[in-house]
Amino acid sequence: MSHDHSLNPKTMPEDPAKATMEGKHKFLGLWFFLGGETVLFACFFGTYLALRNSTAGGPTSQDLFGLDLVFLMTVLLLTSSLTSVYAMYHMKNNDFKKMMLWLGITALLGFGFLALEIYEFAHYISDYGFTFRSSAFGSAFYTLVGFHGGHVVFGLSWLIALMVRNAKRGLNLYNAPKFNTFALYWHFIDVVWVFIFTVVYLMGMVS
């Protein structure tokens, strides 16, 4: 039996990511997973909130944080969320090249974010001697922000793997769900970041 999974403008389902059973499962499974991830980050946030003033005489959040860098990081990540929306838009229009282009831009923005985050951590460590071991505040800060950063790393690796694997194959019903689940995951990373910049950085500079 031949199972033609490829898409062409004549056989294009309305939503290629959910046209197959597997696609539907991936879609539901990822969403449910995000429900669990919400709790995961909730617990990291809770721990951070409980320990944010436990600086043990070391640098405090007011000493450390600066608005400019965080704003730049925020804009990069928010924009990457939009570009992945663009990618999915082109997927629905069955325009593989444009989809890949926007995914590529998403990856670049993600890498930009990551570079800034690494710079930020290095800056705290070398200029303030503020590390994971300095105080309970340090542990909580690096763990929360670092887990988010880890999610970015994972998301980027996932994206690159998908792009490389499917570069020559074009869009089909087998890989469309994979791109779609990636996009959902990527948006969620952005959701978490919105709370990180609000709760960690902005609130840390206020109080």
Partner: protein, 106 residues
Amino acid sequence: MTENTSTNKINSFQKEKNKDEMRKQIITFALMIFFTMIAFFAVGMGISSMFVIPLILILAIVQVGFQFYYFMHMKDKGHEFPALLIFGGIWVTFLVGVTFVTIIWW
């Protein structure tokens, strides 16, 4: 197989619909950037924390709502269970948040 039966052409109608959708997404994005800027400005101006903390938290919640409902399409149909579980997660988040700011005993 099923994937070939439930298909239809991407006609101009469909294209138009997708385009419409995309227009909304861009508005969403513009609003999100706007909210972010307000939040950063409010903190940068040094307004009293009694006012600024609730403000930025509300902005964050609204922004995340946009992200979920528009970027992640939770407003579309077929998202009842995802919504259920996300709201479950948010409920637990709320409980955890309240606990960790109030009854972490010293």
